[in-house]
Symmetry: C2
Subunit: 308 residues, 2 copies
């Protein structure tokens, strides 16, 4: 799957991922109204609005991008119907050739981690049959519990050719409370990064490991260090756009081959129609606004990479 | 909800929680067969087996225990039908007067953490209506992302009188890889524990905080220290029984008032019928075996507390 991600990035020349994190407040009123007319103001109605919103954005951007990253919390908040919309979104994006990164940030130990892994990127056994419940291509995982939490995921990745992005340094302001604490003269995130590199060695694709890392766009100096600590790990970079990261800040997240990082934007793309720059499209044409925002983001990052 | 947990513990004189973590391999063949006969060897069949298994254990133990802790991964692995069984289990346990601790170990930032919080312990707004999607009483949360990840959960807890248990020191062998790293002469878990105490001050019940901590039974010396670091936080203690913890190891997790900790056992209770000690019950009577295992666990812990 890491090989597919690399080949999708090469084909589209776009080292980006669109975060499908649809808050109801991002969804244009006409989409919500239509869904509520059919299902009422119910969890099913919310889930339908989310799904229709996603579908339009995917239809308008899939040829430009290598991957999407649905944030499961935004679906899980609507209970079972929300999770059905998550599954529908995953399946639809895969049918369009996109790599799907399930942003689930799960993390537990032993058989419990294994259960999350089979549920999201593997297959679960039921008697003599097996099923692929959610079937993302990659998932994000929290490292706080150590190797006991990560290894069961890696075992499933190896069987299924799937991959992981492990949280190393997150993009939020308070990420330093624990992640930046100094351990033997080095910040904790560096130590986590070293473990990611070590875990990654056990499951390599052609050029990069199936085990990647999450490093926020908002900490470019740390990204520079972590790039060197994990040379064979893809870095998933949240925090571009709405959270403040810019293309020029991100060049050091990439290797010399122009690969090794994939930059996420969620609100900046999916709610582009709400920004001044794209307001001309109007809420009716929110998908076209998203397409224009994707083009601008790709240009910003590629220009920065060319001028480095 | 922390007040209800305390009052349930006082009533039952049982500072324990039963972990409803049903792997299919724990479920007696006759229960699986019946479910598969109705739904086939499908995700729905697996979910039905899980639900029927849980129901019997709850029916046979609910009068002895204050709380249950369903581990959502064990349901999520069966996709949407599995999550429906999770929801059914939560609702059923609440109807029996039990406090339900959703072991979800979620953790994200800002609006994403808020989405998990409303989905699991709060209510989500859809147009003019609001819904309680999963409706647990407490959830477990991962602290790696810092206050930005925890505060949105606390906000929802305050509105809904719900509570949290935040991972501090987990029970698994590799938990030390990051949690034990020394920061300014103290292990990271102590620093996380201090933050839990600080977060907890902002949301107090009558005697204890709504913000508790997870500290594994397998590290009693650390439990002793953390008890002092977080005097007003309930400690949820996994790792009893199958993972090696014993009642005598756990006395220092409790305060002088005999409260302040709640010890979880999962496999040791729900798969008791598979242990030599309870084999006499037979697989048909697995619920009675679980009841006997609960009684033995309560006796073990209470004896240790009386003899300290």
């Amino acid at each position: 799957m890491i090989n597919k991600l690399v080949s999708n990035i090469r084909r589209t020349k776009a080292p980006i991922v669109v975060g499908l994190d649809p808050m109801l407040s991002y969804i244009p009123e006409h989409v919500q109204k239509k869904a509520f007319a059919e299902f009422g103001e119910t969890l099913e109605g919310a889930a339908e609005a989310v799904w229709q919103f996603n579908k339009e954005i995917v239809d308008k951007t899939y040829d430009l991008i290598p991957a999407v990253k649905p944030q499961i919390a935004m679906y899980e908040q609507f209970g079972i119907p929300g999770l059905e919309a998550f599954k529908k979104t995953v399946d639809y994006c895969k049918s369009k050739g996109l790599v799907v990164i399930g942003d689930i940030k799960r993390g537990d130990i032993g058989s419990t981690s294994a259960a999350y892994a089979v549920g999201h990127i593997g297959r679960v056994q039921v008697g003599s049959k097996s099923y692929v419940p959610f079937d993302e291509d990659f998932v994000t995982v929290n490292p706080y519990l150590g190797s006991d939490g990560i290894n069961p995921f890696i075992d499933v990745c190896r069987q299924e050719n799937k991959g992981l992005f492990i949280l190393v340094k997150t993009s939020n302001p308070s990420s330093g409370e624990f992640q930046d604490r100094m351990v033997d003269g080095r910040p904790l995130y560096e130590i986590v990064g070293e473990k990611v590199a070590e875990w990654g060695e056990s499951h390599m694709g052609d050029e990069y490991s199936y085990v990647g890392a999450v490093v926020g766009a908002t900490y470019p100096e740390m990204g520079k260090v972590l790039r060197k600590v994990m040379p064979k790990s893809f870095i998933l970079v949240p925090g571009y756009g709405a959270q403040g990261g810019k293309g020029a800040d991100l060049v050091h997240y990439f290797n010399e081959d122009g690969l090794g990082a994939i930059v996420n934007s969620s609100r900046g793309i999916i709610a582009a129609y709400k920004q001044e720059a794209y307001a001309g499209f109007g809420a009716e044409n929110y998908g076209d606004a998203s397409r224009a925002a994707v083009e601008a983001m790709v240009l910003d990052i590629n220009s920065a990479l060319e001028n480095r």
